[in-house]
């Protein structure tokens, strides 16, 4: 292996300063050591790296996070409150037993990483760090390796049936300088099904990873609201491996956030499977910076699979949106149906959207398409609304909601979709004052 350039080596060692492979981590020890070796070999990302061209990772690789004050969230309703769900609460990355429900729900087994690594857990051992490691080719994801190596806790879920209620991982951010690393693992056994909700801001800076291994005919739904904290810095990764006829659906809502990099890495390994990833983000850079990056890599290595990416961003006052989406269709992955759309709505001339859609296809019988657009508010529609008496700011909000609604349509469950839509509306209303 080529030696790391000195700057990368130094930056990596600087990041590692004060981080130690945790003791007593049992069966995760080997995976953690391997991950640390990967990280050392790759080095932490740098903005000159091609994969970080549009997003400067400096804040994510600095030894310490930039302080980020928690938000007062007393003005908003609890998300998903009307849904019967099992809650697992992390406060600045630390499990809060008092605020969490008993980790017991029909159809699945839930344990925390910090607890389970002391015992033996065969199913998790096969996944922890393994999907992340697979996701490291052909592109390096050093922050994900860092996560596997140093994760302080997380949730391990093995789903054996149809889980009657969603599991929700609730993040709370209360400490200005918290810097949690959390790693979740989900194994969906054949024919099983789970809805996983992730809600809130995990810390001033956070690095989360989610590995999802879906066996044949399994179904996994993931709905995430990243909260509305302004200065927080986030790197998140989802790695999914899809068996035959399985379904993976993930939606993320992001309101505010100085820096967010959400990576989705999906691999089809069984035929006839389906993966949909979608995201809606709104950022207003007036008071605090907003930079949001969705990076998706989908590998089709099976026949007749469908992948779909729908990402929408509304940007204002110098906000920056990034989309990097790749569909790789391997030789033999015939009948692949790959669709990708990334769109931004720029509310002024200061904001920008940077998109890099990519298709790489080695099979001949496939239908793949991608599109990326940048647009402004439709003046005709705005005048039509105003001519009916709708004040301009409200008219604009209606058009913003309409723009994002297309991403929300990707959500299967109407109640969850409505809850997230309301979140967007509340965000717009607060700004209207």
């Amino acid at each position: 292996m080529m030696a790391l350039p000195k700057v990368k080596h130094d930056a990596t060692e600087a990041r590692l300063e004060g981080l130690f492979l945790p003791e007593g981590v049992g069966w995760t020890a080997a995976a953690r050591q391997d991950a640390l070796a990967r990280l050392r070999a790759q080095g932490v990302p740098h903005r000159r790296d091609e994969y970080w061209r549009f997003t400067d990772p400096a804040r994510l690789t600095a030894a310490a996070p930039r302080p980020a004050a928690p938000m007062d969230l007393s003005d908003e309703a609890v998300l998903h409150d009307e849904i019967d769900r099992l809650k697992i609460v992390f406060r600045d990355g630390v499990f809060d037993a008092g605020a969490s429900d008993d980790l017991a729900v029909e159809g699945c087994e839930i344990v925390r990483l910090a607890e389970a690594q002391k015992t033996d857990l065969h199913w998790a051992r096969d996944i922890y760090g393994a999907l992340e490691a697979q996701g490291q080719t052909p592109v390096d994801r050093p922050l994900a390796a860092l996560n596997t190596a140093f994760a302080q806790d997380g949730v391990l879920i093995r789903v054996t049936g149809r889980v009657p209620r969603p599991v929700e991982i609730v993040y709370r951010h209360e400490d200005d300088t918290s810097d949690p690393i959390l790693h979740h693992v989900v194994r969906i056994e054949p024919g099983a099904e789970l809805t996983l909700l992730e809600t809130g801001t995990a810390g001033a800076r956070f690095n989360t990873a989610l590995e999802v291994d879906i066996a044949d005919d399994g179904r996994f739904h993931h709905l995430r609201d990243q909260g509305r904290n302004h200065l927080r810095q986030a790197a998140t990764h989802s790695f999914a491996r899809l068996g035959a006829r399985s379904v993976f659906k993930s939606f993320t809502l992001t309101l505010n956030g100085a820096l967010t990099r959400n990576e989705n890495v999906i691999a089809f390994t069984g035929n006839d499977a389906q993966a949909h990833v979608a995201g809606a983000a709104i950022g207003d850079g007036r008071e605090d910076p907003f930079h949001h990056d969705d990076t998706v890599f989908i590998t089709h290595d099976a026949v007749n699979c469908e992948s779909r990416q729908v990402f929408k961003k509304v940007l204002k006052n110098g906000a920056v949106g990034v989309f990097q989406g790749k569909i790789l269709v391997k030789k033999g992955a015939q009948k692949t149906d790959g669709y990708q759309i990334s769109q931004s709505l720029l509310l002024d001339d200061d904001s920008q959207f940077l998109a890099k859609p990519e298709l790489e296809i080695y099979a001949d019988d496939v239908a793949c398409s991608h599109g990326s657009t940048t647009g402004a508010i439709d003046e005709e529609a705005l005048f039509y609304l105003r001519s009916r008496g709708v004040p301009e700011p409200r008219a604009q909000d209606l058009l913003v909601l309409a723009f994002l609604a297309e991403a929300l349509l990707e959500i299967e469950d109407d109640t969850i979709a409505e809850g997230l839509r309301q979140r967007i509306e509340d965000w717009l209303d607060r700004r209207a004052g």
Binding site: A381, F383, S387, P391
Partner: protein, 251 residues
């Protein structure tokens, strides 16, 4: 009610005069029709009155009940009672018809210092009015004008007019593209709204709408001016002989 005096306007983007001195007074309770050849400035007049961007008023005035409307934002004009039924109603994907109408009704009420309509009351009212316009519940649920036929769009305009109860209703070629039944429906909708404190400015190419909506006055517009004013018989004359004679006699 509406008083337009010597109104001149040009395009914002280029130095092209469109309205070249329009004079028009409309009293409460009356229906005025404007006819005229294509490109004479009829739509432009409707846009300038409702506040669309892209036009600059270079001279003259327009007042509603004595209030200058030309300096108002479109939403302020709407709250003051101006309504334009668009020649080409705009499709707005993602915005539900119901949400749109409720937002509009309540925004206008708020602007006028009236109490907002409750959801239940709003639903009751809009359902009743939609039924009159033969607009079914499914159309109300769909995004504004998306997937509506030409006739459905026009009926939706009249429904909006009925919901908003404006003082001045401007209708820009609401009849074009409608079949006889749809036109009858639109005319009935308009006639139901006729009231002593409401006025209509109906822009049309055809006499046939005026058969159903009997106008009090008919104006002929040409090259940015109103060149002739008369009673309903003027529309019949246009129907029979076209504009050539009128234009020749006023040139």
């Amino acid at each position: 009610m509406l008083e337009i005096k010597n109104l001149h306007c040009k395009l914002e983007e280029e130095d092209k005069a469109i309205l070249k001195g329009v004079d028009l007074t409309i009293e409460a309770g009356k229906v005025h029709a404007i006819m005229g050849p294509n490109g004479s400035g009829k739509s432009t007049l409707s846009y300038v009155l409702s506040g669309r961007d892209g036009y600059v008023v270079t001279d003259g005035s327009a007042t509603l009940e004595g209030e200058n409307i030309l300096d108002m934002d479109p939403e302020e004009r709407a709250a003051a009672g101006v309504f334009l039924a668009f020649q080409y109603p705009v499709e707005i994907p993602g915005v539900g018809n119901m949400t749109f109408m409720r937002t509009a009704v309540n925004a206008q009420r708020k602007a006028r210092g009236q109490e907002e309509m409750s959801s239940a009351e709003f639903l009751k009212v809009i359902r009743a009015k939609a039924k009159e316009m033969q607009i079914d519940a499914d159309m109300l649920k769909r995004p504004v004008n998306v997937g509506f036929s030409g006739g459905e769009k026009k009926r939706n305009e009249i429904l909006q007019m009925a919901m908003l109860e404006p003082r001045l209703c401007i209708m820009d070629e609401t009849d074009s593209g409608l079949d006889v039944d749809a036109m009858k429906l639109v005319a009935d909708g308009v006639n139901a709204l006729r009231a002593p404190d409401r006025a209509f400015l109906v822009i049309t190419h055809y006499q046939r709408l005026l058969d159903h909506i009997a106008p009090d006055f008919v104006h002929i517009m040409a090259d940015g001016r109103i060149v002739k004013t008369g009673g309903p018989e003027l529309a019949l004359e246009v129907e029979k002989n076209g504009y050539a004679d009128i234009l020749a006699e006023t040139a």
